[in-house]
């Protein structure tokens, strides 16, 4: 008996555990491996355990050899204890080989993108679940399969709300450290504050000047300072312009029981066109598909045949019955050019939720996913790897909802460790959020009049024009602001402030996205086309761009614009109204001068619109792009330049015929 214990102990050191509690013994008639019937009768052999219980055929094995080695050990021990005969051992071993157990390995990949520092539930939007609910969901998925990787496709940080942004996004890095994510491919917003700051996110150390840096909980700090990311930033296509070496590793490899999966991380090649030039100084952004394809031979030489691309570039899906039936956008061309060795593409940037197939360079469909934005979704991906070829044989994916906790009587489960981080920074942010950044003479609301214009929209567009008007900063003559980017009103009176003051917290709440400004050139004809896209054929409802002072036009849109359309109006909109032209020809003017179809104009929008967000695809055709300030900084500068306080505008820029 002692010898047996010893033998088991020795084997336990050499091989995966063979011990079982056998609370619910397997009582099948014959011993089975997977679904394969060994032909050996199943019976109780050890305590409550049957022979079947002692074989771990249900668990993950890194190779067929690993499972058969386990079966060999267990069957030898049973034979030695005279629980099975030599003939039965031979049968069991033949079955272990024939069963195919261990010939494939299931790995779970949990993907997300465009997290943008939304660690606090409901910050910026009541749809944002916060990182505590997000982490709970991730751990729920992880519990389904211990062989997993949690990966981000960029914009993990940057354009983040107050609770993360105020502390230089260190809260988000610390939260992700606690979740123990594996990799984050850089996105354009990772470059918002430049290379040095991005490297600090990886390597740690406090910000050289910002006093809000290094304020984390003791458990998250290292030597009393910001610790940096425990996960790896990846950037295969971002190189130093002088040395052509990547600023971060291009590839992260995770080993699953001897089966290696490579994650190639990249941002969009056109990152410099949507990031402030100072953020990408000295860096070159290379073609996405070419970069991946060049890495494939290197990976194969290392015996790696399972390759996942994490790319901060995306598209827009067409749904049919809830299932993806088509894709548009920059990701399509990239995937069309990918080497067939690429097994999966986890994408981002467009903040869309999709789960589509796009053909690779061999014309074979590749799974391409994106999990929306702001921690609201996770992509749950099961990847089956052939343990002999080490290549992926099948992939299934689904986007799942991360629930938003209730403000009272919450029943959504939260991860306590992550909530601790959020509560810590939320408390620290209370004082800076009250910093006064400007004055207003009355409440300025985002409520639109029936022509589609709001006072707050006017104010934001004016601030954006002011920031990009000077020579060298864009020389803009018009600014357009998307209405969905204005998240709250600016109240004249509120608890905890002097009437008329605008606090930093309030400004942040109005524009929580931290978009940067982009100035681009459009022709007059494109400006007309842009305005017609407010009720274009792809719009789910009319979206009225807010316009800067000096710009004016008249339209004849036939439905109300001072409120949301009701259901009946919505049907009318989608069936017979949208897609038609309503801008009155000749009415579009800048400072009273009619816009000419063939003349070029410098136009400022935020980076979201510049990428064609909210289906304003005309803006994607804008040329001579120049990145600018973050939108809230532009707003604060505008307040500073208006010491007497800003008054609500007269709503006279957009008129209805």
């Amino acid at each position: 008996m002692l010898a047996k214990t010893l033998f088991a102990l020795t084997l336990a050191a050499a091989l995966p555990a063979v011990s079982h509690a056998c609370v619910t013994p397997d009582t099948s008639v014959n011993v089975t491996f997977g679904s394969y019937d060994t032909g050996v009768s199943n019976r109780v052999v050890s305590g409550a355990c049957t022979i079947d219980d002692l074989f771990n055929d249900e668990q993950a094995w890194g190779s067929q050899a690993a499972f058969i080695a386990h079966a060999s050990t267990v069957s030898f021990e049973l034979y030695r204890d005279k629980k099975i005969s030599a003939v039965e051992r031979a049968r069991l071993m033949a079955a272990a080989q024939a069963s195919g157990v261990g010939s494939t390995l299931k790995v779970k990949i949990i993907g997300f993108n465009d997290f943008h520092g939304y660690i606090k539930a409901r910050e910026g939007s009541s749809s944002n679940p916060g990182v505590a609910s997000f982490a709970y969901k991730i751990n729920q998925l992880r519990a389904q399969n211990p062989l997993n990787a949690v990966v981000s496709a960029g914009d993990l940080i940057g354009a983040s709300p107050l609770t993360s942004a105020l502390f230089k996004d260190e809260p988000t890095i610390e939260a992700m450290n606690r979740i123990k994510i594996d990799f984050n491919a850089v996105g354009n917003h990772e470059f918002d504050e430049g290379k040095a700051e991005l490297l600090r996110m990886q390597n740690g150390g406090n910000h050289p000047t910002d006093l809000f840096s290094g304020k984390g909980l003791a458990a998250d700090l290292k030597n009393g300072a910001f610790a940096g990311a425990n996960f790896k930033f990846l950037a295969a296509n971002v190189v130093e312009s002088d040395t052509m070496t990547t600023i971060f590793p291009g590839v992260g490899v995770k080993d699953f029981l001897g089966n290696k999966v490579a994650f190639v991380g990249m941002t969009l090649e056109s990152t410099p066109t949507i990031v402030s030039p100072s953020g990408v100084a000295g860096l070159t952004f290379k073609d996405e598909a070419d970069t991946v394809n060049a890495l494939v031979p290197q990976l194969k030489a290392q015996g790696i045949n399972s390759i996942v691309v994490l790319i901060h570039e995306g598209g827009f899906a067409t749904l049919s019955g809830g299932v993806c039936s088509g894709m548009s956008g920059a990701i399509v061309d990239i995937v069309n050019r990918l080497d067939p060795a690429i097994d999966l593409v986890i994408s981002g940037h467009t903040h869309q939720e999709y789960n589509c197939l796009i053909n690779n360079s061999a014309g074979k469909p590749v799974r391409v996913t994106s999990a929306g934005q702001y921690a609201r979704r996770l992509t749950d991906i099961d990847m089956v790897i052939d343990t002999k070829t080490k290549d992926v044989v099948s992939i299934t994916a689904a986007n799942i909802v991360v629930p938003v906790p209730a403000t009272a009587n919450n029943t959504v489960p939260l991860d306590a460790s992550l909530q601790e981080v959020v509560n810590h920074y939320d408390a620290l942010a209370a004082v800076p959020a009250s910093r006064v950044v400007g004055q207003i003479t009355a409440t300025i609301t985002r409520t639109q009049n029936n022509a589609g214009e709001s006072a707050l929209g006017d104010l934001i567009a004016d601030a954006q024009l002011a920031a990009t008007k000077p020579v060298g900063f864009g020389e803009a003559v018009i600014a357009f602001m998307n209405p969905g980017g204005i998240r709250a009103d600016l109240p004249y009176s509120a608890a905890g402030k002097v009437d008329g003051n605008v606090t930093y917290g309030e400004a942040f709440t109005v524009q929580p996205f931290g978009n940067s400004l982009v100035t681009l050139t459009l022709t007059g004809a494109q400006i007309y086309a842009l305005l017609e896209q407010q009720w274009g054929s792809a719009q789910p409802f009319p979206r009225m761009l807010q316009v800067s002072q000096g710009f004016s036009y008249t339209h004849s849109f036939p439905l109300p614009l001072d409120r949301n359309l009701d259901a009946a109006e919505g049907v009318i909109f989608t069936t017979s109204v949208r897609g038609n032209s309503y801008v009155v020809p000749g009415s579009v003017k800048i400072n009273g001068v009619a816009v000419d179809a063939n003349t070029s104009y410098r136009v400022t929008v935020n980076s979201f619109l510049a990428d064609g967000g909210d289906t304003f695809t005309v803006l994607m055709g804008g040329t001579n792009r120049l990145g600018g300030a973050v939108d809230t900084d532009a707003l604060e500068a505008y307040f500073t330049a208006s010491p007497g306080g800003v008054a609500p505008s007269t709503l006279n820029r957009i008129t209805r015929q």
Partner: protein, 253 residues
């Protein structure tokens, strides 16, 4: 098994457990050769054979042969397998042979696994290339069912070029203890390539004059651990430290 041997075995296992935690490097399969199978024949001229199948993939070596030959009055077969599993740094091999023969059936059968080489690279897990490491193998061997009708032998060795770094050989008989600890260790360097070779062979036969119903089986299994070897200067510091402690103790006395 007496208590002394048991404690030794437990100690060996504890070492294996301890040192697998503090891995300085790990063994990675570079290449391998493996074969195995079964041959049996009767005086009457019947001949039986089977070849093992190589299931090796990636970082794992796996070889398995198993077959049952069933006929009226003569039933026999075998399992012969060998594995190096990279994930848990284990090597194991086993044979089980059985024979049921009616009187008058004279069969001699042999089974074997032969792993003439598994080339292993001592891959760094943080240690610099060329750093000295101690590689150890600890496990257990078993021999079951040996009788005057059967034989069993097994060996495992690690070589580097023509130098044998560590080896273990066992040819048990019916009088042997069914279990024997397997343990050896040697010094090597991170980045060095070493060769594991192993062999197991068994025979089982009937007398022909009377019915036979028997089996013979062997197993050898254990795991490798690679531990960092402190630099000579570290030893010196350790000794100096111990010396100071010794002086302090003496002065207190």
């Amino acid at each position: 098994m007496n208590q002394t041997i048991l404690f030794k075995l437990l100690g060996a296992t504890a070492v294996a457990l301890c040192c697998s935690v503090a891995q300085a490097a790990r063994l990675e399969v570079v290449d391998h050769l493996a074969a195995g199978g079964y041959i049996a024949s009767t005086i009457g001229g019947e001949f039986f054979s089977d070849d093992a199948i190589d299931l090796s993939a990636g970082g794992d070596v796996g070889l398995i042969g198993t077959h049952s030959f069933d006929a009226a009055g003569l039933s026999h077969g075998y399992v012969a397998d060998a594995y190096f599993i990279g994930n848990n740094q284990s090597y194991a091999m086993s044979i089980t042979q059985y024979l049921t023969a009616a009187a008058g059936k004279d069969l001699l059968a042999e089974a074997f696994v032969s792993v003439p080489l598994i080339t292993l690279n001592i891959a760094s897990e943080g240690e610099a290339l060329g750093s000295p490491v101690q590689v150890s193998f600890n496990g257990l061997a078993s021999a079951l069912g040996l009788s005057s009708n059967s034989t069993l032998q097994m060996d495992i060795a690690i070589t580097s070029g023509s130098t044998t770094l560590g080896s273990w050989l066992w040819a048990p008989d019916a009088a042997s203890s069914p279990d024997a600890p397997v343990s050896f260790s040697f010094l090597a360097n991170v980045g060095q390539q070493i060769t594991l070779s192993a062999f197991m062979h068994s025979t089982l036969g009937g007398t022909g004059s009377q019915a036979v119903d028997g089996s013979v089986a062997g197993m050898l299994g254990g795991n490798f651990a690679v531990a960092a070897v402190p630099e000579a200067s570290n030893y010196a510091m350790l000794l100096a430290g111990l010396g100071i402690l010794g002086l302090m103790t003496r002065r207190r006395v």
